[in-house]
């Protein structure tokens, strides 16, 4: 019932139009390029060089040595010295610094009793009188910054007295598979494939159909014998190719610039990527049957894109989300793809490992295509 000739005619027309649409053509290449560089360099969950202030009330050689030691951790960088705590607080309000270290006048006495220096944990009555060496006040609104400052609480201080640090034996030994250097970018690059495809695939297809409405071409199209399904298929085929080009750009650049290698087989990668592209395209088609103009299509794309970025596991681990959010996340193709692509690229997962998510994506694509074809009626009203 489907005419390949009709589909081919639509595909050919789309490609001709695309070739003349320099802006869209440029976006196909520039979006993955720019996003990859931005995300790859900018997103870093490991926090370093937080601007901080110091209020040194003791102003001794010891306190200055302490400041140097804290700075040597690279977690903070002291940019200001203030005389009073009030000044430091105001600097935090003005966001000049995110945290301030307050070293009390009696820092020397506190230090000698501190377990971080003595290497002993409080045991006797005399030890319980030990107080913290100094105090941090920090802007807690950003939890990552706050966590980095908190991590400084147990900083060993033995070096201060040129003693070998007496670090306690760890409870657990941890061996990290995949990404042993803990580089954020290793997780970001494959995830970015999902985010960029979500954005471009949904947006381009939705716009491609809505444009026919906006320019009135639809009135001509529906007086021809073309069938809705032929139109839908013809519209998405060129974008399948475009999606694959984008994936190649992201993974290729990820490998060349960020040394993220692909652990799994390229064939598995191709299959799962195709599935995700199809799912995104069919979602774009469904959107196109609701949107009246390209602006609406864009808004609906963003409506899907934001949860795809935030809930899919791209930014935050899926496992850490509350159950409600997980249920919502599971309705997004990006969530399923995020599991798959990280599996294939980083952990060498094969088709059998990722089958449930892959089947979900396939079902989503078929459903989307069916809904879009049914909703697209050859009528103007």
């Amino acid at each position: 019932m489907i005419s390949y000739r009709h589909i081919l005619a639509i595909v050919r027309k789309e490609l001709l139009q695309l070739r003349r649409d320099r802006l869209t053509f440029g976006m196909i290449v520039m979006i993955p390029l720019i996003q990859l560089v931005l995300f790859g360099y900018a997103i870093n969950t490991e926090v370093r060089h937080i601007p901080a202030a110091v209020v040194d009330q003791s102003d001794t050689g010891l306190s200055r040595a302490l400041i140097q030691m804290v700075e040597a951790t690279q977690v903070v960088r002291f940019e200001h010295h203030f005389a009073t705590i009030e000044e430091a607080e105001r600097a935090i309000v003005r966001a000049e610094v995110r945290a301030a270290l307050i070293i009390p006048r009696d820092v020397a006495q506190r230090l000698v009793r501190n377990p971080a220096v003595t290497g002993r944990f409080p045991q006797g009555a005399q030890d319980t009188t030990s107080r913290p060496v100094a105090q941090w006040i920090a802007d807690g609104s950003d939890t990552l910054v706050a966590a980095a400052i908190r991590a400084l609480r147990r900083m060993p201080l033995g070096e201060l007295f040129r003693e070998a640090t007496n670090t306690p034996t760890p409870t657990f030994e941890v061996t990290l598979f995949y990404n042993p250097e803990q580089r954020t970018v290793v997780n970001i690059v494959p995830g970015l494939v999902g985010i960029i495809l979500t954005m471009t695939m949904i947006m381009f297809t939705a716009a491609a159909i809505v444009r026919e409405h906006e320019r009135g071409n639809i009135e001509m199209l529906i007086t021809t014998p073309i069938r809705p399904l032929e139109l839908m298929i013809g519209k998405i085929i060129p974008f399948v190719g475009i999606g694959l080009i984008q994936v190649a750009i992201i993974l290729g650049l990820g490998w060349a610039v960020f040394s993220v290698t692909i652990a799994g087989s390229l064939w598995t990668l191709l299959v799962v990527t195709l599935l995700f592209i199809l799912a995104s395209l069919s979602l774009g088609l469904v959107i196109s049957t609701f949107a009246r103009n390209q602006l609406q299509a864009m808004q609906m794309t963003v409506f899907v894109l934001l949860p795809s970025i935030l809930l899919s596991g791209f930014m935050f681990p899926y496992e850490g989300m509350p159950e409600g959010a997980q249920i919502l996340a599971n309705t997004l193709p990006a969530t399923h793809f995020m599991q798959i692509i990280r599996g294939v690229v980083l952990r060498d997962a094969d088709l059998a490992d990722i089958a449930p998510d892959a089947i979900w994506l396939l079902g989503f694509s078929i459903l989307g295509l069916a809904v879009a074809s049914l909703r697209f009626r050859k009528k103007l009203d």
Partner: protein, 308 residues
Amino acid sequence: MSDIVAETVGLTRTFGTKTAVDNVDLKITKGSVYGLLGPNGSGKTTAMRMLTGLLKPSGGHAVVLGTRLPGNAEPLKRRIGYMTQGFTHYRDLTVLENLRFVADIHDLSAQDKHRRIDELLETYDLREQAHTLAGEMSGGQRQRLALAATILHRPELLFLDEPTSAVDPESRRSFWEQLFDLVEGGTTMIVSTHLMDEAERCHRIAILDRGRKRADGVPRELMERIAGRVIEVSGPDLRPVSRKLTAGPGILSVAQIGARLRVLVSDGTDDPRGAVDALVRGFADTTTQPTRPNLEDVFVLATRDQGA
């Protein structure tokens, strides 16, 4: 009768509370040019969209080439051609690319496609523009492309919605020549227009106004049967004359055409010329002259009768 290609019975379409097409009956015979004459917003486009299956009628029905509408319009789409009011082919494709696209969608065989496109480029004088983007052509060239694309699959019945609105009088003449060539080949066409001279070229017309059919028939007969007389008034200062006439008894309409006033007098007036003469008596150098009614007079009369 088998030579009726399209017929509507009580065809009605509403948009919310607005009735765009109101209980319209039409009969279009094979091999004729049928004109839908009406001003902006009179429902011409809406009527055509219903006849081509693009819009569902809110009431009444139509039978087009034996297919009853509302109903499955899909088989009809291979037998009709619809040239929309605006240009709805692709502005970012060239003439040739547009024609090839239409040929593929209409399943012309490879050989036929090639021959047919060649023939159309020749007939519609588009060969030089074959590789020009449709969006970069003049209004007249684009109109010819639209016609070529619309008739590419050799439809039996052609719908043309204000086909000459974007072209100059010279191109309009040759465009109509081409339409009559098609009629000679056996095509029936339904053409909408708001131009009187264009309506006069049609075999039959229906006058539409605010969604209603006000009159229909052969243009010549409509002009002859008109229920009014036309008197032309000429003189040096026509504005005050016009104001006086408009208020006069039995005067249906007054329109200034260049240096003359065209006065439509009701059929009920015994001596139309005498009545006009009496009204213009006080004005210096003003003369009157009876003249033949034209389609515009028919239109004014038809839309005035039920309009009030």
